[in-house]
């Protein structure tokens, strides 16, 4: 008897078919009016179409809400349309960049390019010859070495700022902020002048990694600081109140609680440097042959490979450059997904 009294679940707040009719009509009308304006007025072209469509959509949605309800509803729909448009403006450039990279890069992609370098291949040789293994290996080396240098320094700096709150915290925070404004070419010049000219070291992947570490440290430190600041002080106090030293409390409670945020900080740092070209020009020297020693000798990286091939300018060289961009994107995406997957299995906040 109880089954008879249970009503069917419904969503009375949803839009039913009848109510949606005016909206659909308005959407079509918006498109038609926009076509008409573009066709019969001096406003011509794709850009004009987009701008007119935006204005007409704002007016149409405001009119519909205004007629249906009142002025407040009209204002609400205007802001809603604006927010949707802003969202699309963010998606559109990224989407078109991705589209263009895939469209132009996919042709040059082959498994062979991951097993050969360009040591014996001319840049305008057919795409089936040669590859970018030297650049992929170089990029792996510099990203890993730069992370090994800057992740500990960055996170420990953030811990100094949030946990120890020492006397120098203000000064250090100022310097970290100033450091994040350093142009990448200056970081490259610094390593070139100090590590290579003054100390007499040669071109190497490690030198490139050092230049990138200068760029990566402030990103990791600032993001980690923001993340650590979000951890409630209750948790620190609870750890200390149970007889933990400050280090044990930080290592056992604060860092695990901030884990996924700290991983984001590292990802942002890697993203900051993985595509850098300028500092590498000065520190890695560039190479067409695979160099497995990260500590000595000219080596290449993917952004370097792309830059070099665009500079050569022949048709196949430019195709190689596009494929290089695509490979860089795939590698970075793979890295990020892997870190997210590994960190997503455990952890809170």
């Amino acid at each position: 008897m109880s089954t008879a009294t249970i009503p069917r679940p419904s969503k009375p707040w949803g839009v039913n078919f009848k109510q949606a009719i005016p909206d659909v009509v308005a959407a079509f009308a918006t498109l038609l009016i926009t076509y008409a304006i573009v066709a019969y007025t001096p406003l011509k072209g794709k850009l004009a179409f987009v701008i007119v469509l935006f204005l007409v959509a704002v007016i149409a949605s405001a009119a519909i809400s205004g007629i249906r309800r009142d002025r407040k509803a009209a204002l609400n729909s205007i802001s809603t349309v604006m927010i949707y448009v802003a969202g699309m403006f963010v998606i559109f450039p990224l989407g078109s960049i991705l589209y263009e990279i895939i469209r132009r890069g996919i042709g040059g992609l082959s498994l062979g390019m991951f097993s050969t370098d360009m040591a014996v291949t001319a840049s305008d040789a057919p795409l089936s010859e040669g590859g970018l293994i030297h650049a992929v290996v170089g990029t792996f080396y510099i990203v890993i070495i730069a992370s090994l240098i800057s992740v500990p320094i960055g996170i420990l700096t953030a811990l100094y700022l949030t946990e120890i709150k020492g006397k120098a915290a203000g000064t250090i925070r100022f310097f970290v902020q100033a450091m994040s404004g350093i142009p990448s070419i200056v970081a490259g010049l610094f390593i070139y002048a100090v590590w290579m000219i003054a100390l007499g070291n040669q071109y190497s992947a490690a030198a490139g990694a050092m230049a990138l570490a200068i760029l990566m440290i402030p990103t990791v430190a600032r993001t980690s600081e923001e993340v650590l600041k979000l951890i409630p002080s209750d948790l620190r106090e609870a750890g200390l109140a149970m007889g933990g030293t400050q280090w044990r409390t930080v290592a056992m409670i604060v860092i695990p609680a901030a884990q996924s945020g700290l991983i984001t900080a590292v990802i942002l740092g890697v993203a900051r440097v993985a595509g850098e070209t300028a500092p590498l020009l000065l520190t890695m020297g560039g190479a067409d042959a695979l160099n497995l020693n990260p500590f000595a000798g000219n080596s290449s990286a993917i952004p370097f490979y792309v830059w070099k091939n665009f500079l050569l300018g022949t048709e196949t060289a430019i195709d190689r450059a596009w494929s290089g961009v695509l490979v860089l994107m795939i590698i970075v995406l793979f890295f990020f997904s892997l870190t997210r997957f590994l960190s997503g299995r455990k952890g809170r906040f």
Binding site: A238, M242, G243, T245
Partner: protein
């Protein structure tokens, strides 16, 4: 639940008598309890934040195996006072203090004292339940051992006994590997109590442990406090006078007249609620202000 409602109804009718009755009934039920644990004695405590003098000359002797409630209006220094008792006060950069806190006859502020050992012996439960978010229920209970790097031979036995004593075992015994954050507020607070019990403190400080909880959970925690008082010295800050009357053996009344907080009087709970020596205590416990 019924006790709380009963106390509330009575307190509307005649606040002084009803609270006194609760306190008296509870003392009677307890009978002559045996002395257990270690007492802690605060002598001439003063505290400052920057130039602001917030506690003026408070001395209380907390007897072993008793529950002492600290009551008083907001801002009278109760929380600051109990944070002085386990050296949590010093984490506030502008904080300063004077006086002595004696644990087993030794001043915990003496230079050369190992602060982490002091805090191990004097546990604390906070106002807001704060289980460690990255740890499971089991890991939360045992976290004190790892924090203080203590070795225990039988962890699962300790885990069970702490959860049983905190009154949480039956609710969580099948979900020990779930995260602590998945529990309800009252359960989280009992988890925090279980966590502090794992390192077997002699003294347990509780800073308004029930202020964020519903009446059912509050009652459950009060039962826990009564059970724990057999084996340790408990000091509880509370805004709820019925709670002070129900759980404590002794009560201290703090008051600030705009200046630093002072201890107006401290004696047995039934005395404070039925026959307070100071007019201000009587006004406060009968709800005339505060």
């Amino acid at each position: 639940m019924s006790t709380i409602q009963g106390a509330n109804q009575m307190s509307q009718a005649n606040p002084v008598h009803s609270l006194a009755n609760v306190a008296a009934a509870h003392s009677a039920s307890k009978g002559d309890h045996h002395i257990a644990g270690t007492g802690i004695e605060a002598k001439n405590i003063h505290a400052w934040f920057g130039d602001k003098h917030v506690i003026d000359d408070v001395s209380i002797d907390f007897f072993p195996g008793t529950v002492t409630a600290l009551i008083g209006p907001s801002g009278c220094g109760k929380s600051t006072f109990i944070r002085i008792l386990n050296r949590m006060h010093e984490f506030i950069p502008t904080a300063a203090m004077a006086g002595e806190v004696l644990l087993e006859g030794k001043d915990i502020y003496q230079s050369g004292t190992d602060v982490t050992k002091i805090r191990l012996g004097i546990g604390m439960v906070f106002q807001k339940p704060n289980p460690f978010p990255s740890m499971t229920i089991k890991e939360n209970v045992l976290s004190g051992l790892k924090l203080a790097q203590l070795k225990v031979s039988n962890q699962s036995e300790l885990l069970e006994s702490c959860l049983v004593r905190a009154g949480l075992w039956n609710e969580v015994k099948d979900r020990l590997n779930e995260y602590g954050g998945a529990l309800s507020g009252g359960q989280q607070q009992r988890l925090c109590i279980a966590r502090s019990l794992a390192v077997s403190p002699q003294v347990l400080l509780m800073d308004e442990p029930c202020s964020a909880l519903d009446p059912g959970s509050t009652l459950r925690i009060e039962e826990t406090i009564r059970e724990l008082s057999a084996s340790m010295t408990i000091i509880i800050v509370t805004h709820n006078m019925q709670q002070a009357a129900r759980v404590s053996d002794r009560t201290g009344f703090f008051l600030s007249d705009g200046g630093p907080g002072r201890l107006i009087e401290c004696s047995s709970t039934s005395e404070i609620f039925s026959n307070p020596k100071d007019k201000r205590t009587e006004d406060y416990v009968t709800g005339r202000f505060g």
